[in-house]
Symmetry: C2
Subunit: 347 residues, 2 copies
């Protein structure tokens, strides 16, 4: 077993060069470096062993040279990529973390990371739930779902709620929050399997495969004959346009992503935006990053739901760092089934 101060080998996933459009597997490559398992003297860094990493749609932007990335760091060619993960502290110069702590936050796609920017790290205090959940329902997507549902759109009992990309990391949690609140909940997804998941495992009232619908306006009218009160927006484009036609007065649209629009040269124009004015709709873009102060409140709500099995969470876990690039690339063709996780090590 590796000990403090040992020089050990460190498998890493590196970015080959800046990417245009969707990343391909060949835009990343594996290499093996070495790492000293000790935080340099006087540093406030934290040295961790990475356990679980996740694949997020936003990571594609970090691979580009040109995108406007206010508040985010870009990847550097021939350096390890990074993202949210769960890790175990091996050594720490930081007063808040000590050897043996489990943490989640931004870490490298490698076996061991020396984390110098520790602002995103949060100590894990509850380990009676799967550790990988801190990459999902108890991590960034969970916080995003919580902020979008309880802070931004705040659907009330009996309201009509629609969620696009509903089987995704955020959508599946929002849908279950909505059901627990007593809303009528419909989700859209991109395959029969995902639709089955929504209806049979996650308890959505209805779900449909958008790829099989020719006229999304008619589809939404079928599922929402009285209109939509709250829409959780994760795709943009044609779906948003159809939703606008079907929104009710005083409706709310909460958006934390528009995945259909990320990789097209010219974004699709949204034609029905006038409905925002006519129907007094509130459309709000948000990010989990503005709600970190609510993390304890969020855990108070979500941990009991998980323990009492009132919320289920679906993960798609691949084994080994070397499976990471394919898993990340798979996000953009909808290959993943639930939260895409890469298990680097189990302990």
């Amino acid at each position: 077993m590796a000990r403090l101060g040992d020089e050990v080998s460190n498998k890493q996933v590196l970015l080959r060069d800046y990417v245009m459009g969707y990343p391909k597997e060949s835009d990343m490559y594996l290499t093996t470096a070495t790492v000293n398992l000790e935080v340099p003297q006087g540093s406030k860094a934290v040295l961790v062993k990475n356990l679980y990493l996740t694949c997020d749609p936003v990571m594609q932007f970090f691979m580009r040279q040109e995108t406007d990335l206010t508040g985010y760091n870009r990847y550097t060619p021939r350096s390890p990529i990074f993202g949210y993960g769960v890790a175990k502290v091996l050594d720490s110069g930081h007063p808040e973390f000590k050897t043996g702590d489990l943490v989640w936050g931004t870490t490298g796609w490698e076996e061991y990371s020396l984390i110098t920017e520790t602002e995103s790290l949060i100590k894990i205090n509850h380990t009676d739930v799967p550790l990988s959940y801190y990459t999902g329902i108890l991590g960034m997507p969970g916080m995003t779902a919580y902020a979008g549902f309880y802070e931004v759109a705040a659907p009330k009992k009996g309201e009509y709620v629609f969620i696009s990309a509903a089987s995704g990391a955020v959508g599946q949690i929002i849908g279950q929050f909505a059901k627990l609140t007593g809303c009528y909940v419909v989700g859209s997804a991109g395959s029969k399997e995902k639709v089955d998941l929504l209806k049979n495992k996650l308890g959505f009232d209805e779900a449909f495969n958008y790829k099989e619908e020719d006229d999304l306006n008619a589809t939404l009218k079928r599922y929402f004959p009285e209109g939509i009160d709250v829409y959780f927006e994760h795709v943009g484009g044609k779906m948003l346009d159809a939703v606008l036609l079907n929104m009710r007065h005083h409706g709310r649209i909460a958006g934390c992503g528009m995945i259909s629009q990320y990789n097209i040269d010219e974004p699709e124009g949204i034609k029905n935006l006038m409905h925002i004015v006519f129907k007094w709709i509130r459309m709000v873009g948000y990010t989990h990053r503005n709600y970190y102060h609510l993390y304890p409140k969020f855990l108070d709500i979500v941990l009991p739901y998980i323990r009492e099995k009132k919320i289920v969470y679906v993960e798609d876990i691949v084994e080994g760092l070397e499976s990471g690039p394919a898993a990340l690339v798979g996000l953009f063709s909808g290959r993943n089934f639930g939260r895409q996780v890469v298990a680097v090590a189990r302990e």
Copy 2:
């Protein structure tokens, strides 16, 4: 002078037939009916002499057969059109109004109206300001500006504020609220005269004629090198798309109209809506109708501003009911200069 119970002639502006697209003068016609200057026994109606009427962009929709008009009444062919106005009560069966009262609210385009739907009528208690102001700064546009500025977008001192259709009934008030709050304020309008008005009379920091700008994105970058915090949206289309590119993080967009989009077969697609998500923008459609309970609070703020000449208000008054149809139609070519008012009678 006409007396209670007299049968008098009543000049009226009637809708000829339902209209498609922009109304033309010939879609309306004048006629002279008769009216009995007395409220029928047992009725709770109010009989008024109309003094000032106004032309609102929304009136075009009341002329159409097909538009979805939740909460609004449509005009009836061969009946008088209606809109906001100031009137004097000649007879009343309603406990809240008595002979001699001045009121503002929805009334007919005619010399005398028997108003049976009295919900919109508000008694005028302050007559030391021009009566016609109750069609504008002290009426619906004033309430709209107040709601948009203080309740919806709430710009703070030092923020960067952009207003489209800034010389319009609502825009000119919002701009002055913004200046009084200590914001940096830029407005767009459609003529050199309107731009001069904004800069020289209404105290905007800057203003431009959008018809003379080829690249609205570049224009906005010139006036807002640090971006826009709050946008008051009255036009939609290309302007909104350019604004989205220039919004700052946590920006707010308050919309009570999108006049550029009302009469085109296919609305222009808005391509930059992703910025709402990326920059955590709040875009809110609103109407004065949801804020009537704040009317006394609104008067408390605005009446002193008017009396102390801290706010000026520009009206474009035409004389006589017969000038009404041309004035209304002129709205859609931007012919009016400030709030378009039709003076039917002065007392």
